[in-house]
Structures are given as C-alpha cells and as structure tokens.
C-alpha cells in the first residue's frame, strides 16, 4: 500500500516532458527506405489490368510489390482481408501496390508510374440498404455472412415477448443510430521493419496486441514464429485502432524483399480515411411497460455496419448482443444482433466497441419509457435494476450487481433527491 491514495509520478513522465521518449515513428535506421502504397480511388472496383514495369525502374526504387508478391495474401483477426488487393477492391483506399524507395518523393513518383485500369463497380454504403434482397453484394459470401459459419444473427430469447407486450400498459418503439468515429491518435500508424543479422524479420510496431499481430503475420509472411520478432514500445495513442494491422504487414514484406530497413508511416489523411474505425450501428427497440414502471417485454434489433472485411465486427456483434438490453431484469426478451458488409473501411475496435454505442441507445430508450409512464428517469432504472443472483440476459447468475448502488452514487453526485424507498434499496435482495 505504498502507492494507493498517493500522488506518484509516472515512471515514463520525465521522458515525455523532455522529449526523450522514443515512439515507433521516431525509430530510424541507417539506409532506411520509405514505403508508400497505391490505394484504390473507388469504393468498389475491378482491377482489369495492372502494369508495374515502368514504376519498378523508376529512380530510387528498391522494390514494388502487388498481391502476387505476398506469400499468403490474407490477414486480420478473422483472416478475410487482403494485404494487397485481389481482382475486386471493396473500399476506397484499399492497398493495391506498395513501393519501397530511397525517399518519399521517389516512392510517390514510382506509384504515379503504375499503369492500372479499373472498372468502377456499384458500391453499397448504407447498412440498412445492404441487408435488403437484391442489394449489390459486397462479398461473394453475401452481405450478411458471418465467418464463423454458424449463423448470421446472434439471438437471445427469454420468456415470451408477445405475452409480455400483452401485459404492458404502453408500447414504446425507438430507432437509434450512431455514426462512424475515427480514433485519430496523434501518432499515426507506423512500422519500421528490417531483417536482422540472424535472418529474423524484426518489426517495430504500434500494435496494441503484439502476439495477435505476430501470429497473424507469421501466416502472411509464411515464417515460423521464431523468425518473426515484434518490438513494441511507447505509442502515441491507439484507442483500439492499433488492434488492427495497418502498416506492419506491408513494411515487413518490403523489408524481406529488399533486405533493407523499411518505414511505413501513414499520413494523417490515410489514418482518417482508410484505417479501421468505429463503424455505424442501428438499434430498433420495442418495449412494453406497465404503469408501475416495470418493463414487461423488450425486443431489440441491432444492425452493425461492418465495412468490407470482418476485422473485429463479429466480436463486436456478440458483445453487443449480450449487453444491449441494459442493466435491467427483463423477463421477456428477444435480441437479434447482426452485422452487414458495406463498401467502407473495416470495423475495428475502439474503446468499448459494441457496448457503449448500444448503451447510448438503451439509455435514451429508458428515458422515453419513464416519460411515457410519468416517472423520473432515475426511478425507472431503480425499478428494473438487476439484483445480485438475478440471471443476466443470457441466463448466467449475476455475482455482484451494482446498478442500484451506482444510481444512488449518481444521485448524490448530481444533487438529485431520492425518496427513502430508493435510498434503502440494495443490490442484495
């Protein structure tokens, strides 16, 4: 207990205030090459032809790679994303070719010499349009496919919602949606890759999950794990965005190809437009509530816009399904949580992804229920709150509920008067 309750300086604070902390984008090596990539300018396109012969001969170019140069061209948490685009590109900014050159200018000049012929295809951007029959297909598997292959909807069924609606005095429906959000860490994504004296590929990485990235990219490079070393370190912000790979794969491929150190550092524009994001969600609630404030039934339909590749979308849908009905004991519940592919950048992780977006919707819906019944927003939360021992939405008993105590704390902090009834309540029945 030397530190609890005391103000202690950060172990790395002096480095930060003196500018001595070295971030991944500060790593420099002698003879280091710069990487730039050719990105698709369309939301969806077919690459009809690509000719890199002239670009490869441009001054200062050490390597130029396309899909044919990638040992195993699939990566990501659910490995369905192409390192460099195959025939069909599925989002604006998808990487098609990568060059390593002596300067940024030489790299960009070389990219401009690539001759590429596209056929622009019809994209689908709106998730609610994408689930309709006849919508343009983002992927050959279909827009609603889930790569674990078991089902395209994550469902929860408790009690009988139709019976629950019959018990209700009011039926309240609500539709809520959340937009895209970019993590925007101040340090954009960066990798520095090189082959060390023992022949091991070393990647200085901003990855938030170094072992996830190592396992994933060992497949891409077709290297044994003992020939692939990830070096982490201090990073200039991640916020979940660095759980997905944006630069490690391409920097590593170019280091293997050239035998030289390669830095791939995204520009701010690339980070904003083409890296993973918190993608949009749509929530539809139908609730039944009695005059005494008890929620008798709840039906929730969730749609997660996953972008064009799965990344963490499937995981987000499952987290969301478990949490969407909120910290309320609801005897009759039906949740359908699903994801859909659209021609946008893939859905990544970002601070409570899948959960807090749903709680925004659920909390606004609760306020609307309270207004319909004529009770205060805090009362409806006390009336329906989980107690210790209650089954959660998937039926597991809750070991230590804290909704009631949290509400009492919130009321105290915000100066809201509670009646004796609510002050006396406890999560322990």
């Amino acid at each position: 207990m030397n530190s609890v309750g005391k103000r202690i300086p950060r172990y790395d604070g002096i480095g930060h205030v003196t500018g001595r902390t070295q971030y991944v984008s500060d790593v420099a090596m002698p003879d280091m090459l710069t990487c730039k990539t050719l990105r698709c300018p369309y939301h969806k396109a077919r690459i009809k032809s690509i000719d890199t012969a002239e670009a490869k001969k441009a001054p200062g170019v050490y390597a130029l790679i396309t899909k044919d140069d990638v040992p195993h061209n699939l990566f990501a948490m659910v490995p369905d994303h192409h390192v460099l685009a195959e025939e069909i590109t599925r989002y604006k900014g998808q990487n098609i070719a990568a060059v390593a050159a002596i300067t940024k200018e030489a790299a960009l000049d070389a990219l401009a010499k690539i001759k590429i012929e596209y056929e622009e295809l019809t994209p689908i951007i709106d998730p609610e349009e994408a689930i309709k029959d006849g919508a343009p297909q983002v992927r050959p598997e279909g827009n609603n496919h889930m790569f674990d292959g078991s089902s395209v909807i994550r469902k929860i069924r408790r009690g009988n919602v139709e019976e629950g609606f019959k018990e209700a005095d009011f039926i309240i429906e609500g539709r809520y949606s959340t937009p895209s959000q970019e993590h925007a860490p101040l340090e954009t994504c960066c990798s520095v890759a090189y082959v060390d004296a023992s022949g091991k590929l070393v990647i200085h990485s901003k990855a938030q999950g170094l072992y996830f990235a190592q396992g994933d990219l060992a497949n891409v490079f077709k290297l044994p794990l003992n020939k692939l070393k990830f070096v982490g370190g201090t990073i200039g912000g991640g916020f979940g965005g660095m759980n997905s790979i944006h630069t490690d794969h391409i920097a590593g491929l170019l280091a293997l190809k050239t035998g030289k150190p390669v830095r791939f550092h995204l520009t701010r524009e690339e980070e904003m437009l083409y890296s993973t994001i918190r993608t949009p969600w749509v929530f539809k609630f139908k609730d039944g509530i009695r005059k005494d404030g008890v929620i008798t039934a709840r039906r929730v339909e969730v749609l997660h816009d996953c972008g064009s590749y799965t990344e963490l979308g499937l995981y987000a849908v499952e987290k969301n399904a478990n949490m969407i009905a909120g910290a309320n004991l609801i005897k009759n519940l039906a949740v359908d949580s699903r994801m859909v592919y659209t021609n946008k950048m893939p859905s990544g992780s970002m601070r409570g992804f899948g959960v807090n977006v749903g709680q925004y919707a659920e909390q606004v819906q609760l306020d609307r229920l309270a207004r319909a019944v004529g009770i205060s927003p805090i009362e409806i939360r006390f009336i329906n709150a989980f107690h210790t021992g209650d089954p959660n939405h998937t039926g597991n008993p809750i070991a230590a509920a804290s909704t009631i105590e949290t509400l009492q704390g919130v009321a105290a902090m915000s100066g809201q008067q509670l009646s004796d009834k609510y002050l006396a309540m406890s999560s322990e029945k």
């Binding site: 205030v17 003196t18 500018g19 070295q22 971030y23 101040l186 340090e187 201090t234």
Partner: protein, 164 residues
C-alpha cells in the same frame, strides 16, 4: 536543390542540409535526427510539432526550412539544464499531464513561449495559448492546471526567455 542552413538551435550554432521544399519539422527530424518535435498531421492542425522560433511558438510543419537561416530555434530538448527541468516541464510531470505523451513536447514549447511573453496569465489566457495543441488522450485540464501552478512559482522561478 539543397542548401546548408545556418541557424541557432537550443543556443548552439547549427548547420543542416535542407531541400527547397523541406519544412522546419523535416529539417529537425530528418536532417538532424532530433525527434522531440512530432509529426501528427503535417498541416498545422495538431500542434505536436510546435517549437519556439525567435521567441514565438510556431508549428514547425508550416515553416519552410529555408526561412530559418540566422534565426533561433528552441525545442524541448534545450529547456532542460543538465537534469534540472524547466518549471513548465516539472509542472507537467508533477501534475501527471502527459498520458501517451506524443503531444507533450509541443505543449511544453507552446507553454514556455507563452509564459515568456506573459509570466502572470489568467487561466483563460493559458487555455487560449494552448488551444492550438491537440491532446487526443484528453488531458487538457491537467496541462492548464500545471501551467497555472508553474506561473504561481510552485516549481521555482520561471527563467527569463529560453536561455538557461
């Protein structure tokens, strides 16, 4: 075309080779290997490349390197004297202001240039002075509190100007 630029960096006469289109940020980072000025946006929006040029805080990604000939540039590296931190650096550290720390060198430079001009500011004036420096971790409050503590002398007298 490249040119050898002569200027004063952290009190020392310095030369750097610079191309016509290089920014001061590129001259410092790539030309001199000085990594404390960070590149967050490369378009003057985020402030993580802030340095002190002839006494004023500037975003070094928006300054053409060729224009610094004969001028004085201070970075966060020059504000420390041996292991003795500048009161602003000390305040940021003691108040736990940096989180990921990527914005911190720019924040230090912006704050030092500001208090050199205005040694007894109001909190509003400090907020205004730091308004060009983004912190995506969201640590603005502690930066402002730390500057106010430093100008009130909590970490010793403020030096006059950047010179130690």
């Amino acid at each position: 075309m490249s040119k050898i630029l002569k200027f004063n960096l952290n009190g020392n006469p310095t030369e750097v080779k610079s191309g016509d289109a290089d920014t001061l940020l590129e001259a410092l980072r790539d030309g001199l290997g000085l990594t404390s000025p960070k590149c967050g946006c490369n378009r003057g929006d985020c402030g993580s490349c802030t340095v002190i040029l002839n006494g004023d805080a500037v975003k070094s990604c928006t300054v053409l390197a060729l224009t610094i000939e004969g001028k004085s540039v201070w970075t966060v590296d020059g504000l420390i004297d041996g292991d003795k931190l500048h009161p602003i650096q000390k305040a940021f550290h003691e108040y736990g202001a940096p989180q990921c720390g990527y914005c911190t060198p720019g924040m230090v430079n912006a704050a030092v240039a500001f208090v050199n001009h205005n040694p007894s500011p109001t909190e509003e004036e400090v907020k205004d002075a730091l308004s060009g420096n983004l912190c995506r971790c969201g640590g603005y409050k502690k930066y402002v509190e730390a500057v106010m503590a430093a100008v009130k002398g909590e970490f010793g007298p403020l030096p006059k100007g950047c010179d130690k």
